[in-house]
Symmetry: C2
Subunit: 248 residues, 2 copies
């Protein structure tokens, strides 16, 4: 595509690519730490579990930063991916729910950062309120609206029980939140202008156990029923990451 894209700030990047860039970034940072200056799409593919052609296609979305015959400059690629996620201008995020999962996310030291910054934590449990988490004091639930408004936060991470998830989501949206990462295993019904991204951890294990059974049935010929079992159901591909926006 055109030379005019060279210094483009915001390019059209497919979701599948957006989800893979952080994986590449991790590998690149490792390479840099080890003092390696260049990397080929073949290596990056091997290390990320992706097809080399996919890697090249993904990286070509950032611009044309490779060198034929040589590969990609590691530092350049890191800089370009940082640019996509604007890691130098992080967006504020509030975390609602300071239970096990909320704490696990914060303490992973890997969840926030990379374009986001935790600015407030809320919980309803008096035992947690006043405690410290990720550099924030855990605030009582009822201060949620005020804080979100004064800090002009548009992003929220929801790690609350299912029973209160919808209510909290509504309050967040009223206070100005437009993007919610929802860990509660329930569908949120919010306005069409709000983007909800769902992470349902239990589904992952269910899927894996389904495949264990499916493979076993296939290999042992133990199809208890009659159906022909095709391989179509199984695509031993790459590391996909879930997307999703609002239910209608």
């Amino acid at each position: 595509m055109g030379e005019s894209d060279n210094n483009a700030r915001t390019l059209s990047i497919p979701e599948s690519t957006v989800l893979r860039l952080p994986v590449y970034q991790r590998i690149l940072v490792n390479f840099e730490r080890r003092g390696l200056n260049t990397i080929s799409s073949a290596d990056l593919g091997r290390l990320s579990g992706e097809n080399a052609a996919s890697v090249r296609r993904d990286l070509s979305r950032l611009g044309s930063f490779g060198t034929r015959g040589t590969g990609y400059n590691v530092a350049t690629l890191i800089r370009q991916i940082d640019r996509v996620f604007a890691t130098d201008q992080p967006h504020g995020v509030v975390l609602v729910g300071a239970g096990n999962l909320g704490r696990a996310l914060v303490q992973s030291n890997n969840f926030f950062g990379h374009g986001t910054q935790l600015v407030a934590v809320f919980d309803a449990d008096p035992a947690l309120i006043g405690g410290e988490l990720g550099g924030c004091t855990v605030l009582a639930d009822e201060h949620l609206e005020a804080e979100v408004r004064t800090a002009s936060v548009h992003l929220a991470v929801l790690t609350v029980p299912v029973s209160v998830a919808q209510g909290v989501a509504e309050r967040l949206v009223t206070a100005g939140v437009r993007y919610i990462l929802n860990f509660a295993p329930t569908t949120l019904h919010v306005g069409a202008k709000v983007t909800v991204r769902y992470v349902d951890l239990s589904i992952e294990l269910q899927a894996l156990s389904f495949y264990e059974r499916d493979d076993a049935a296939r290999h042992s010929g133990t199809s208890i029923g009659t159906a022909g079992i095709t391989n179509a159901a199984r695509s031993p591909k790459h590391r996909t990451h879930r997307s999703s926006a609002q239910p209608r």
Copy 2:
């Protein structure tokens, strides 16, 4: 497709469908609790955030259990989805890593079950060893191989730090594990016969913040660069859930 599929036990079910069935199941169980006997694809779609046609297509993989003009019997659907995940014959799973995330998964009361059963928990931290988690005593790391072998476990959930993930994965595989749900943000290099499913939580938030910025740029016309910003990068669709198998 044939009538012979009617009582098929293992049908070819696409990954995208496998990942949505648990969502439907949750909604169906809610319906049943509320004493509702039937549900239409339109309702199930609204409640799950999916297109009604997708719902029908998904459910048709289970067989032909709907009634034209009426909808689906809730109890029947629940039974059929349970059958797909063989919830009556759960597979054993070991959890390696009893830190915040491991505990969050177990205590969610939603992660195990649905076709799986937690049979052992391991950790390397003496402070955690001997404690109780999900009905299991947290065992010392070094007992991992013996336990996996004697219990003939094929499924493992990895919630350990990145630094030890590869080593633990290798030990699990040697002991007979064939399916790994990996929460450590690193690619695991195991044999081709082992299926690894990756859940990288930090990527989810990065993606969401990318879209926040992307939307802002699009709407304010603040394209700092030159590129035309298309809508193609954004597909406000459904609740997808990540897949993935082994890197090659």
